[in-house]
Amino acid sequence: MPIIINLDVMLAKRKMRSNELAEKVGITTVNLSILKTGKAKAIRFSTLEAICEVLECQPGDIMEYIPEDVPNKL
């Protein structure tokens, strides 16, 4: 999928652990893991709002669009 989730980067920037974020957002760690690994098919606006509120960031900070034919930055 061309949508890349940069949740790990934001967590590192905020020096926050996954468990803590999951607890504050109100989702399970399993679901957060699904989101982080890019396996999620969709994300609810309410979840996105809660994540942005906890991490004090914009939706664009945690997800990025990269066309499939463009080689990976790394």
Partner: protein, 273 residues
């Protein structure tokens, strides 16, 4: 959800019991067919020595001035009148003689008759009838092994189809008992059941057409005597094609595709955070 699960588990128990009963019945028939020696009893199970049951249509051309006596036992459940003709002692004696006679390679049994005249159900007006049509069964015992195999296959096809559908239904309800939700197992089982019913109908229909081609008709004609007209019976194999079952099987296939779509939607929903 619990109530639905209970319904599925009850249906699982019912299908399991039905499967066991039909399996025992099938095994009994197979054993009878292989080991039981043929008897001249008209009510015994047909076996490979005795012959195989084939549904037939019987057309009776009766003189206009004749009167038909019959035992009327109406079954009006389906909205159609069914008239059952019971064997008299004279009929039984005649059939026993025919069965014992080595000159006859084929024997016939007429179980129940649905009387029709010009495709209309006859009620009580049996006088002045011209042509009567009836559904019945005939026991065929061909000498040709190929045709014998064909008839045996047709006779066992229904039993094995029922066994397979019951077994698949059992698996279907078992999967629902474990998890009453959309799943690939549930939709695949339903797809298999639908296709099994459809395949049975098509194979049975093809076998009927082949049998019709082999056995065109049997014609029994009486010699006209003074003051009496000719009485004639024409017996020909019937084509078994149940349109209702075909529609049901197609509906099951469509429902299985819908369940597949539901399964995809459920997976997407599960992966929505």
């Amino acid at each position: 959800m619990k109530q639905k699960n209970r319904l599925a588990s009850r249906l699982y128990i019912i299908t399991t019991a039905a499967f066991v009963i039909v399996a025992i019945f099938t095994a009994y028939i197979v054993v009878c067919d292989i080991f039981v020696k043929p008897t001249n009893s008209l009510t015994s199970f047909p076996n490979h020595n005795y012959g195989y049951t084939v549904p037939v249509k019987i057309q009776l051309n009766q003189p206009g001035d004749s009167t038909l006596t019959y035992h009327n036992s109406d079954h009006s459940k389906s909205g159609q009148m069914t008239t059952s003709k019971h064997f008299t002692n004279e009929d039984k004696k005649m059939f026993q003689e025919i069965l014992k006679d080595a000159a006859y390679s084929k024997t016939l049994i007429i179980d129940s008759l649905t009387m029709r005249r010009d495709n209309k159900i006859i009620n009580k007006e049996f006088e002045n009838t011209a042509i009567l049509k009836a559904d019945g069964y005939m026991i065929l015992n061909p000498k040709n092994l190929g045709i014998k195999f064909l008839l045996a296959a047709k006779n066992y096809l229904l039993l094995f189809a029922i066994l397979f559908v019951l077994w698949s239904s059992r698996k279907f309800f078992k999967a629902l008992t474990k998890d009453f939700s959309f799943s690939s197992t549930v939709s695949r089982r339903l797809w298999i059941i639908g296709n099994a019913i459809l395949c049975y109908q098509v194979i049975n229909w093809v076998l009927c057409l082949i049998i019709q081609d082999i056995y065109d008709y049997i014609r029994v004609e009486s010699k006209p005597t003074l003051g009496h007209h000719t009485e004639m019976y024409v017996i020909y194999p019937d084509t078994e094609f149940n349109l209702g079952l075909v529609v049901l099987s197609l509906a099951l296939i469509v429902i299985s595709r819908l369940l597949d779509y539901g399964n995809d939607l459920q997976k997407e929903n599960e992966l929505t955070i």
